[in-house]
């Protein structure tokens, strides 16, 4: 199986570049700069230094002893991306891209954000390296994530509300692309997931694959062998591909990507792009599986977790799905909420609602495996940002029997 895209940025039928002509030159410039840095010793040394000092890497691989006992099956490890600076895996990619932006002499950074995690991580690296930062965010998301809006502003970023469409992540990406197409010469678009036009899916995956590389050496140190199964949640898919990529050639390692099953099977009620009957399409510069109506208009999506609430998915995941290398499942809002509470109460770790989808998949899968099997769950972010939303979702349950 081939894991590098071709020169046009395709993994099989997925990926490529579907953008206005104006963006081709900046994408070519970015691709050239990225490929120069990709194997450059100095760039890699800088990157790994900053990953250590800014992001607090390596993140621990943590044996979830009580969760393992509770579920009574595979031995469960959590890859603790929640312990990174800014609270999620997003910072890995932001450090990589901002070093590239500096190398390219760009002075203005733009980004999109859904829940605000990528926006906060971008604002953080911009503050650290002294670059101007504009973050686009749907006004509906701004309302739901007020705290992150304030956090970004505190970090010196300008947050621009996007009032079009569903006023969420998809619309924020539209607006960031419109900004980029207008300000191509000085602006660097710091895209937050493994999607968008080539070279973004490749570049973001590379910057996130530090997760898998660390996991390999940590599990070998702890157990003397590779894990049997990896589990991660999949929105755009950057934390998942970051964990999976390192192991794609290891046939003995199986992988599950958990999508947002939302609150129902109907279009508009979930963000599960790989449901049976799914169809490929083009959104935001890339060809991949895409939730769309019968006319090819992009469908609205729903998930309790803003970070998974997106109509498309990174193209490499589409390729891995078709080839069967990774299995994709969907986890409902309800299952994610219950995993959120379980991990909090049993391990003392409050997971992000996104990561709670991965935990919920572990709850389903671990009991079906024997106790000599090893499972790694990517805990992609911490749940502090979600506490208020969860309290609202659970209503009286939160103050009820479970937490007494």
């Amino acid at each position: 199986m081939k894991h590098e895209p071709d020169e046009k940025g395709y993994w099989g039928d997925y990926g490529g570049r579907f953008v206005p002509e104006t963006l081709v030159a900046p994408l070519d410039e970015l691709t050239k700069a990225y490929f120069e840095c990709r194997n450059d010793t100095e760039f890699r040394t800088d990157l790994s230094g900053f990953l250590q000092t800014i992001a607090n890497r390596p993140s621990p691989l943590y044996f979830a002893e009580r969760l393992t006992k509770e579920l009574g099956g595979a031995k469960i490890y959590l890859k603790r991306e929640d312990l990174n600076h800014t609270g999620a895996h997003k910072i890995n990619n932001c450090i990589g891209q901002i070093l590239l932006a500096l190398k390219m002499g760009k002075t203005r950074i733009i980004a999109e954000t859904g829940a605000g995690q990528h926006g906060v991580a971008t604002a953080t690296v911009c503050a650290r390296f002294g670059l101007k930062c504009v973050v686009y965010m749907g006004t509906e998301d701004m309302r739901r994530q007020e705290l992150n809006v304030f956090r970004m502003r505190l970090l010196g970023a300008e947050v621009r509300g996007v009032d079009s469409g569903s006023r969420t992540l998809k619309d924020a990406i539209n607006e960031a692309l419109r900004d980029w197409v207008t300000n191509v010469s000085d602006t660097f678009y710091l895209l937050g997931s493994a999607l968008g036009p080539h070279p973004y899916p490749l570049m973001v995956r590379d910057f996130q694959s530090v997760i898998g590389r660390e996991t390999r050496s940590q599990i070998l140190a702890a157990e003397g062998r590779l894990p049997d199964i990896l589990i991660a949640c999949v929105g755009g898919g950057s934390n998942a591909i970051g964990l999976f990529h390192e192991f794609l050639q290891d046939d003995e390692v199986s992988m599950i990507g958990a999508e947002a099953g939302g609150r129902g099977e109907q279009l508009g009620e979930h963000a599960a792009r790989f449901k049976p009957g799914a169809k490929a399409g083009v959104l935001h510069g890339t060809k991949s599986y895409l939730l769309q109506d019968s006319e090819g208009q992009i469908a609205l999506t729903h998930s309790v977790s803003a970070g998974l609430d997106y109509a498309s998915v990174g193209p490499e995941h589409a390729f891995l799905y078709d080839g069967g290398r990774v299995k994709y499942t969907s986890i409902s809002d309800e299952e994610a909420l219950s995993a959120f509470q379980l991990l909090s109460s049993i391990e003392g770790i409050i997971p992000a609602l996104e990561s709670s989808h991965a935990v919920a998949q572990a709850v389903k899968t671990a009991p079906q495996m024997s106790s000599d099997k090893l499972m790694v769950v990517n805990l992609s972010g911490r749940g502090d940002k979600d506490v208020a939303a969860v309290a609202e979702e659970l209503g009286s349950d939160l103050g009820g029997t479970r937490l007494q």
Binding site: F18, A25, V181, V184, H284, E295, G296, Q297, I298
Partner: protein, 263 residues
């Protein structure tokens, strides 16, 4: 010979330059769109661009975004747009170019689109987010059916790409006046003239300039150095302002007349 090619040859013979208005198909509804097309042709449009509405129009400014959304809200589909243009064939012979994002076309099916578009009197298709590198399969199928795939060229397009794009291009070249999204601007761009002269080094195809052309002096300026001017948002703004059909047509007549230099 395609009707687009014939149109530009005729313009050349007459010593005139072209006027290409853009409207979103289905805003406010397809019946009105048909009336607007007939009216614009009567007022002197040489080619008409019909926008296929899309939920996520990343290359468009606020005016066309809103127009596209109104069209979707009215229930416009690609199939209905093609039905409308098929009926228009009896009323006007102005060439029609569909202006679309890729996903609605991909979803419709490229083979099906090409045969339906050919049967519906579509002369050209312009796909905002399909760059030359992705266009080969589509342009070959279109060419077999006498439909031109219109190529966009931007100020950021390099000479290497210009050479590649102009080799495949047919119909006319759509030169984007400046880096950015669609929408009216106060000043016309000097970048555009440089771009047009760069394009001329690679092709003899007619060149239309669009994006930000909203006033008579912009059109006069473009006509100095290019073959046609595309006006989009400025006309779409007129549509936004009037609900009632007869009044809307009157408004468009008055605006378009004021826009066009006296013959």
């Amino acid at each position: 010979m395609s009707r687009i090619k014939r149109t530009f040859e005729q313009l050349k013979l007459d010593g005139r330059k072209g006027f290409i208005p853009f409207i979103s198909a289905g805003d406010p509804d397809l019946e009105t769109t048909a009336e607007i097309v007939v009216l614009l042709a009567e007022l002197g449009a040489d080619i008409i661009e019909l926008g296929v509405p899309f939920s996520d129009p990343i290359a468009d400014g606020p005016v066309i975004q809103a127009s596209s959304q109104r069209s979707l809200d009215a229930g416009t589909t690609l199939g209905n747009i093609l039905k409308m243009t098929a009926e228009l064939k009896n009323r006007t012979d102005v060439p029609i170019v569909l202006f679309s994002y890729f996903n609605p076309l991909l979803n419709y099916g490229i083979e099906r689109l090409v045969s339906d578009a050919a049967a519906s009197g579509i002369d050209g298709i312009l796909i905002t987010d399909v760059i030359d590198d992705e266009a080969s399969a589509i342009s070959d199928t279109l060419a077999k059916n006498n439909i031109d795939l219109i190529s966009l060229i931007a100020p950021t397009t390099t000479d290497t790409r210009l050479e590649q794009i102009t080799q495949r291009a047919n119909g006319f070249i759509y030169a984007i006046s400046r880096a950015g999204i669609t929408g009216a601007r106060a000043e016309s761009s000097s970048e555009a003239e440089n771009l047009v002269s760069r394009i001329r080094r690679f092709t003899d195809l007619p060149i239309a300039v669009g994006f930000g052309i909203s006033k008579r002096e912009h059109i006069e300026n473009v006509w100095r150095y290019a073959d046609a001017a595309v006006v989009g948002s400025a006309i779409v703004t007129q549509i936004e302002k009037e609900k009632e059909r007869a009044a809307l047509l009157e408004r468009i007549r008055a605006f378009t007349t004021s826009l066009l230099p006296k013959k």
